[in-house]
Amino acid sequence: MSVRTIEPDARRAGRLVLRLGFRSAGLVAVFVYATGCVVLPIPTPEHTPLGTVTRQNISANDADWIQPGTTLLADILLKFGEPDQLSPDGQTLGYRWQKIWGYMVIGVPGGGDVAPWLKEYHLVIECDAGGLVKNKRTTNRLFSKPSPQELFAGGDVTAGTVAADGMTISGPAEWFAGVAGYDRLRTKGWLSKAPPKGVLGRLMLTDNELYFREQGHLLSGPPVLTLRFDRLSECRLDKYGLGRRLVVRSTTGEVHTFTFWSAREGMEDAKTTRAAYEFIQFRILQ
């Protein structure tokens, strides 16, 4: 098979295969039959990708020296450096690195392509309130990249969550600063040349305030937006078709719009957005 540049459609088809992650051999068989695309994995000894953007100062065996009950959080930071993620309580550290597991040869009618097959490694270290290591684990994934929250204890946080007592709401969300719900969409329509661009991150509601942390920042780092409920003059749920957006206006006139997202389903999480609206409304009226 000759290896050369392939047409965009075929390239897209190959990437679709990667995204699907070979969850079942049957799916692959159907895909091959339907598209004529063949993907051949070629394993190699694991090695560091050139120009990698992940840390490379940790390998799978480098955590052997960490002893639960003995090692301190400070020891880990001094040895491995700043973690890539930190749990909201600041007690669980997450380190991430990638290695090349092999290469993928994608064959389509008339050509082909070769791409490195990356393996994701994670070291998760849980400490107690006194900074003593409680446990550690190393995980790896070949076909997918888990969200930082998935690696931490505390259950599924890939979708918005509403606590049992109804007092806190938290989830992946998009923030539109200076935008009032779907107003711009209503005036300019779906074909608007400049739809408002949101910031992806995590919206969290506590008893007294809401705060937003931008995606990719440390969970315990400072939020990019904090709004106290007692400084809000308005909270409404804006509806447009099936879409739901939470709109808040501060007493100083600032307006912000939020939409919760379900990371698992890749679509708006109208249920959590509505719960957030009802919660803030309740807090404003108190």
Partner: protein
């Protein structure tokens, strides 16, 4: 005088080379002595904050601060960089090549520090 094309290209190349435009200059804030003030047992946290600015992360009620540092091999200069992302929830290490970890005591005096090479080599 009208120069033929090749001499024009040669002239442009000469100008670029002599102006240093063909290489990437170190960031203006890169400094060889950026960390020279750090001394275990004596440096105060307030001095660290005033010299390096806000840390990229804090731990244990700010007893531990971490900074991400860029490094320019030619000048051996460091500079402070913020957390970088590529659109995924995981941060990436592109400009930052080192992680500076500073551990303070209850009085805010530096107890211990380390400069960790994120790419795995020695500083």
């Amino acid at each position: 005088m009208k120069l033929p094309l090749p001499p024009k290209i040669a002239l442009a190349a000469l100008l670029l080379a002599s102006a240093g435009c063909v290489t990437t200059p170190p960031p203006p804030s890169s400094r060889v002595d950026l960390l020279a003030f750090l001394a275990d047992g004596s440096t105060a946290r307030s001095k660290v904050l005033s010299k390096l600015g806000p840390p990229s992360a804090t731990f244990e009620a700010e007893k531990i601060l971490t900074y991400r540092l860029g490094f320019e091999p030619k000048s051996k200069g460091y500079w402070v960089v913020g957390r970088e992302t590529d659109g995924s929830p995981w941060p990436v290490w592109i400009s930052a090549k080192f992680s500076l970890v500073l551990v303070f005591n209850d009085q805010g005096v530096l107890l211990e520090h380390s400069l960790v090479n994120i790419s795995g080599g020695n500083p």
